[in-house]
Symmetry: C2
Subunit: 225 residues, 2 copies
Amino acid sequence: MRTMSQVAGLRAPISIAVIRRIPEYLNVVRRLREEGVEWVSSEELAQACGLNPSSVRTDLGYFGKFGLVRRGYSVVGLNEALERVLGIDHTLNMVIVGAGNMGQAIANHESFRRRGFYVKAILDRSPEVIGQQVAGLTVLPVTQLAEVVKREKIDVGVICVPAAQAQAVAEALVSAGVVGLWNFAPVQLAVPPEVAVEDVRLSASLLTLGYQVRQRLARARRVRA
Amino acid sequence: MRTMSQVAGLRAPISIAVIRRIPEYLNVVRRLREEGVEWVSSEELAQACGLNPSSVRTDLGYFGKFGLVRRGYSVVGLNEALERVLGIDHTLNMVIVGAGNMGQAIANHESFRRRGFYVKAILDRSPEVIGQQVAGLTVLPVTQLAEVVKREKIDVGVICVPAAQAQAVAEALVSAGVVGLWNFAPVQLAVPPEVAVEDVRLSASLLTLGYQVRQRLARARRVRA
DNA sequence: TAGATTGTTAATCGATTAACAATC
DNA sequence: TAGATTGTTAATCGATTAACAATC
């Protein structure tokens, strides 16, 4: 039986840590579905995601009761439930600002489309890039930002410009009406709370890896000595 | 005064959450240095990184005492200290496996080089791509992986292949001798603990953003009703 | 001096994990 | 039936924040 609050979606807001794991579960479950696997236990799911089985059950518990005692979770059922949770059924439109390497790579990355995210336009400020074709789109001047956001009903702005321009681009996107920002610039964006921001900190990620690598190299050197 | 353990680097291993924030501090401090700012307080640093001032002081405290009461932290001093912590002074070599959009974008991204990470080779398995030029490098066949890792003294492997191949590539890289993996494939890699893995979950990040966006869209719709 | 800011310890908060009753 | 596995609550763990003495 589902509680009132579950039906109405009223329970305490689910922590972002939990939300971040849902795409991982979904990944695994989709793979299993393709392989024709019918049932998966929290144990197996946890293994595949590098988590604790308790975490898996607790996480899924936030969204409903999907499992059967002694059987686990129906792969198909869980797949659909997780897609419903993430809202993949209806699509979101994106505009990419900045047609450099990263912007182009995102535009060409078809897996986002498969997950319901459509790149409707790509903009740049540099005259050398404007007019070029990227992923079947003509790069438009960034001056057309507000117009494009309205015309294409853009929900999400993807910020692929250098750090120095990121805040200005964010502000332009927000005042044009986007509700989410996918930020590839290494800056903390200041935006109103109605706007969701998701940071992709590539160089921070690499530096973190570098730290761990050097720790290990140093340890290995110490052992050898 | 520094304690014994600080000098010897023996204190409890610093949590990865702390390490992840160091690149952010470094970013800010570098920017301030370029702007000619001489001193920064934990308050200002926290503001710029979207953190609590206490967190900043606690974090920095793991690595030494860099601040002066009533003045804050010397921008130059902190910059150098943070680079020392991350070990940016001596470089690491990388090989990119997978010359698709993402692999190419990484190869072309000069900011990694500026942070001490050098892309020495890029490999692919597809005959159409092998031999092409990417960021001044000729794409090599993935069969040469072990050879390249040895010859170029590669420390870090960057995995930019589809999910299905990621584990096999990871294993090949590890047995060739890399100490770190930068993983762009949406899979949990199984590797020995001596190897550091840093996952970049682009589509998980986008799906997480999508969830937040849809929450906000739904809220807005509710308010309108 | 008075006041501001660090470094550090203690308190709080939240997330993860363990445990176990329910049950198929 | 016996045993396995869920859903959920309680216990633990770790990370963040507050507080404050030290001090420039």
